[in-house]
């Protein structure tokens, strides 16, 4: 089945609005659909649904523990660590692991010839698995506060969705760095959500440049159409980029979203538009995917 990522360079353009309403619309049409909230730093999608938490899967990373009795202070682990996570003062015979900096690559364990390094798991976050109306269909990546990178938790969440059947909707984190790439790399198609403002336009161009580099098919939804100007729409046309849909700026949409209500539950025209967007994506990009 197809995996569709909903992404945007700029934050707050309406990724979650689009992701949650597509999910709701498809479920209502009794189409098997899974929603994965990959915005592990600020996950918000689950709040829009009546859910039951089935399972919380802890995501951990291994960090080294150095046995200073066995350690010969050779410094090999310090040399192997590319993240400066091993603090080493040879004359003082001081060696410490700075867990916050550790990426869990395991290089230090390989480097150590004195069997002085063992590893222990530390928590990075959880992947929450929810049912919506009895069907396991919502996956949430939630990173612990203070953790270095959301990427391991995002990867774990996407992995959980692999065995689930149906259309998979990935709600991506903002930006174009690692967390975004990890999310869109596993998708068959990317919907970029933007707004018709200079900030929205600039971040959209950056996202498109990135998706072109990794050869991902994509299309654009302009949210809050009517504010700002026509630069984004004109630019898309000039560059032959498909404009999938425009969501007008309406106080009613903003109000509903703000209280965790689904616009598509009441606004059937909106729901039908989203459904058409997904149908077209599936027709044009096939059902095979991964």
């Amino acid at each position: 089945m197809i995996k569709i990522a909903i992404a945007s360079g700029k934050g707050g353009t309406g990724k979650t609005l689009v992701a949650t309403n597509i999910f709701h619309t498809l479920v209502k049409k009794e189409i098997d659909t899974v929603l994965v909230d990959c915005d592990a730093e600020a996950p918000n999608a689950v709040a829009f649904f009546n859910t039951n938490l089935n399972r919380a899967v802890e995501v951990t990373q291994l960090v080294p523990v150095i046995d200073t009795n066995a350690c010969t202070f050779c410094g090999k682990c310090h040399e192997y660590c590319n993240y400066n996570a091993i603090f080493f003062l040879p004359p003082m015979k001081i060696i410490n692991v700075m867990e916050d900096l550790c990426h869990g690559c395991g290089a230090c364990s390989i480097a150590c010839k004195d069997e002085a390094i063992t590893e222990k798991p530390v928590s990075l976050g959880v992947v929450n698995l929810y049912s919506n109306n009895g069907k396991p269909s919502l996956v949430e990546a939630r990173m612990n506060i203070g953790v270095m990178s959301p990427v391991p938790v995002i990867k774990a969440a996407i992995k959980q969705s692999i065995d689930m059947t149906g259309i998979v909707i990935l709600d991506s984190p903002p930006g174009t760095s690692c967390p975004f790439i990890q999310t869109v790399a596993s998708a068959d198609y990317v919907i970029l959500v933007t707004e018709p403002t200079p900030f929205g336009f600039s971040d959209l161009q950056q996202s498109i440049e990135t998706l072109k580099k990794i050869n991902k098919p994509f299309g654009v939804i302009i949210n809050r159409a009517g504010i700002g100007n026509n630069t984004v729409r004109d630019w898309l046309q000039e560059n032959n980029i498909s404009l999938l849909m425009e969501i007008p700026f309406k106080n009613e949409i903003a109000r509903r979203y703000s209280i965790g209500e689904l616009v598509s539950a009441e606004d059937l025209f909106f729901a039908e538009q989203l459904n058409t967007v997904v149908e077209n994506i599936i027709t044009q990009n096939g059902n095979s995917g991964h």
Partner: protein, 289 residues
């Protein structure tokens, strides 16, 4: 004095508010710490007096003339970056974390590490002083190191030019780049909006800010898009003794200013919104640390 404007949730209006703060002052240093989606330069159109390449990490590359496809590297890689595709070892640039382990253990010395050097930091001048900003190359790790670099440069520029105020426009989220943005600053402003997502993300952001023993100052932006939700945020802040320094309405002026490459306070200084922002800024300055 360093003041950081952050938000948790994206799109709450951080950059527009930071820009307004900056242009209320004669001369300041502005540091755009949202290196993943830098936007302030669009309003300020700064000169580029200095451009510095930033090495964001490394990537492993295989020399297929030397590789025997033994697969040892695959068994050691913990980032699922090395896979066999058509019986050939393949390293995914996307998943590679740059730890060097594969290059160290390869018996054929077939793997070398190359630096990611496409990210940049710029430093220059704009109409209200100096500006420093970073641009992370797409797909690279936003570890907060580039943010640190931007902040160090901003401090250096402030010192050189005798400027007392540094305004930091922060990234969204609660991860490393945010932590790098607020570590050691004097004041933090959290911009939120009256939505459930806005409230949740604000709460997570406050948790971070409190870890640094910094008082959180809240601005509820676009408060009139849902007044009852704004009330709910107010009540939560009251109960948790978090200061709300101001509330701003939803106004077309914000987008209009952006389109004209100006700040809200520049485009219409007498507008209610501008006066409000000025009052918030003064309130922040009057606060005891």
């Amino acid at each position: 004095m360093e003041i950081a404007v952050i938000s948790g949730k994206g799109g709450t209006g951080k950059s527009s508010i930071a820009a307004a703060f900056a242009t209320l002052n004669e001369e300041v240093v502005v540091a755009d710490c949202d290196v993943d989606a830098a936007n302030l330069y669009l309003l300020f159109n700064p000169t580029h007096e200095e451009e510095i390449a930033y090495i964001s990490g490394n990537k492993a590359i295989i020399d297929y003339h030397l590789c025997t496809n033994c697969g040892i590297c695959e068994s050691y890689c913990r980032f699922d970056a090395i896979k066999f595709i058509d019986k050939k070892v393949f390293i995914s640039e996307i998943s590679c974390d740059g730890c060097f382990l594969c290059s160290r253990i390869c018996p054929e010395k077939a793997i070398t590490m190359v630096q990611n050097d496409r990210s940049r930091m710029y430093s220059g001048s704009f109409r209200n002083g100096k500006m420093v900003y970073g641009r992370l190359s797409p797909g690279e790790e936003n570890s907060g190191k580039l943010v640190n670099l931007v902040r160090e440069k901003a401090k250096e520029v402030a010192k050189e030019n005798n400027l007392g105020t540094i305004i930091l426009d922060g990234p969204p989220g609660i991860g490393c780049p945010v932590i790098s943005t607020i570590t050691g600053v004097d004041k933090v402003v959290i911009v939120t909006e009256p939505t459930i997502s806005g409230l949740h993300d604000m709460q997570r952001t406050i948790e971070i800010v409190q870890k640094f023993n910094l008082p959180a100052n809240i601005i509820i932006n676009k408060y009139d898009l849902n007044s009852s939700m704004s009330k709910q945020i107010e009540e939560w802040c009251d109960q948790n003794e978090i200061a709300i320094v101001g509330q701003l309405p939803f106004d077309k002026l914000v987008t209009e200013a952006m389109i004209q490459s100006k700040s809200i306070t520049e485009i219409n200084p007498d507008h209610e919104m501008s006066k409000n922002i000025k009052a918030i800024w003064n309130k922040m300055l009057d606060q005891k640390k």
